[in-house]
Assembly symmetry: C2
Homo-oligomer: 419 residues x 2
Amino acid sequence: MDIGDKVRVEMKDNVFEGVLMPSSGNIVVKLSSGYNVGLDKKEIKNVKVLEKHKEKISKSLKLETSKGKKNITILHTGGTIASKVDYETGAVIARYTPEEIVTQFPELNELANINSRLISNMFSEDMRFSNYNTLAKEIEKEIKNGTDGIVITHGTDTLHYTSAALSFILEGLNIPVILVGAQRSSDRGSSDAAMNLICAVEFILKTEFAEVGVCMHKVSSDDICWLLPGLKCRKLHSSRRDAFRPVNAKQYAEINYNTKIVQIIDNSFRPREKRELKLKLFKEVKVGILKSKPNMFVDELKIYSKYDGLILEGTGLGHMPIDQHAENKEIFNELKKLAKKIPVVMTTQTLFGRVNMNVYSNGKVLKDIGILGDQLDLSAETAYIKLAWLLSNHPEHARIMMHENLRGELNNRIMNDFI
Amino acid sequence: MDIGDKVRVEMKDNVFEGVLMPSSGNIVVKLSSGYNVGLDKKEIKNVKVLEKHKEKISKSLKLETSKGKKNITILHTGGTIASKVDYETGAVIARYTPEEIVTQFPELNELANINSRLISNMFSEDMRFSNYNTLAKEIEKEIKNGTDGIVITHGTDTLHYTSAALSFILEGLNIPVILVGAQRSSDRGSSDAAMNLICAVEFILKTEFAEVGVCMHKVSSDDICWLLPGLKCRKLHSSRRDAFRPVNAKQYAEINYNTKIVQIIDNSFRPREKRELKLKLFKEVKVGILKSKPNMFVDELKIYSKYDGLILEGTGLGHMPIDQHAENKEIFNELKKLAKKIPVVMTTQTLFGRVNMNVYSNGKVLKDIGILGDQLDLSAETAYIKLAWLLSNHPEHARIMMHENLRGELNNRIMNDFI
């Protein structure tokens, strides 16, 4: 039984017919409705192959490497961006070799010499810090081999956590590293995969950008992608193609898919120049994220005393329930203890806007007991990644460095609009 | 020493001069810079009154009650919306009586007969479920006394949690209950307090609305307020006046502050009709909110086995890290145990868009082990309030009722735009 075979799976109570998908763990079958079902191996009574997958892609395609063209590497971490159903056979074809990628997106071959590899094949929600380290080492290899730019295909769920993590790991990065995802899988007519990928390559070829960025649809139609700062963006919709938005920042650029014109909107990014890449990897540190809410209990906070750091998602300008009720006062006492023991960093659950712990006495009191984060405009996600990275690489100076602008993660400019 | 007195506070290392502010706990002094400082009583060495506060507001103003005008009640819960510095004396005057409110906002007296009371004086981040119950009982009293509509002034930090809580408590509500806040305190020229309050009253007088709504600036200029559904809105900026946004819904109406024209945008709200109000109060249930993230640890989840319910803020369409790594697999096993014991409800940290646990096997597997929330479009905040309210009032049916549209908290219409 191979990936792409049409199968009939008999379960205890149900029978599923569809195409066998790549997966780790459960058996995953793509039904004719387009949905994937994950089936527990233990509950499967019988599986029958109805039709063997016929590989229709010519493996004989020879990619010509041209000296005039730049070299672009595409690293695949999983997600559906580079897989596609062959509608003639109904089979799912995972296309990860350079030849397969170029067969799927022929435009790429005209733009650059494409090198492509599969690093992992996982849902992005399963990523841990060790996956960031693996990915960073592969990026380092590619840079040593002389690539001009890297595109990483990635599940969208935690794409912005990964872009933040790579921004910190890749100290001295001197080429562009662009993450792209797709909100519609490549086997659907409405897929956004091709456009995001091609716009990322256009952006790499036409600019001097040398940071970690994210290239996704700006609008839901297939017109414009935007290039977002990897440290200041976020998935803000569960299903729309234009789900990714900048947070407390502007888009660096817009890429018109039709005209291929790249328009720079904010040129504050780091350009390519001679720098030496040094990988600063994550260690297995434990950092929590805790969201403030009405009727909070102190035990929710207490477990983090065993952690190395904690991100608070406070309300408003950076507040927690610390007064008026006995339980709130216990929360305050626990925060006081915690902030002495580990770095505790305030962010805001409003998502947009900056933390300001000087306006109200609640914030002032939290600042006084050593809660960090005053004046920062980090999303909780970027703050989480930054704190974990600091605890991995600069444990002695994490508190001070949290407030330093290390990779462009802090924006001191005033934004005229927020979303 | 009275509120409003100009004082000089000597601390161990510092001396502060300013106006004594109302507070519970610390001594709060408004400095000439406009900032408030909270000073720990234990660390104060000496306090000197420099100048006694001179109350300048005439207490003799007699409000004439007119039979032609409707009766509006303003209930104050705290925050700065109804307090103002008297710039002549520098004193802070908290104006909560009907006379004082009308002195501050003279337009109100022309619009309606104003009744006004102080319910509490607290930062909204300190609110607990018991405060929601108190507020609901005061609303019930006012309705029994024949008020035509209620405006609640409220701190903005958790205003949307309160609007959701009141929506559930006030079963059979047959008058409008509108929450308003201010992002700039009333003692600043740029305060948005007056406009939000007056637009709320205009909306009450000109529509048949009989739900819990939120009235705040739609744009940062003083032109338009919008009336948002109390169950489907959220604070999305830490400091901007137009911080409140609808989430997976449209604004019900827009109120032009200059022309006083009320434009209905979405008329799906419940109109005034004969219904009997029944208070369904909160009990002291324990519900957690836990946000999914890369490199999560199972112990973050374990503490909720002592809770009555748990809201998950998953990634994307509603996913958690449950595969690929040993720790993720432990998270899966713990989720499985937890979902058997208590209601565990999936929401999404993308904030906008709906949970859909049928698309990817990760979601399907979570649904299979009994995680609730599939197809819901609730914010994590509203889901939290709804679950706590269900556990208070319908503990036996909480799992089923979580998926029922009880107060308009679920929106089955497709949104053309999200923010």
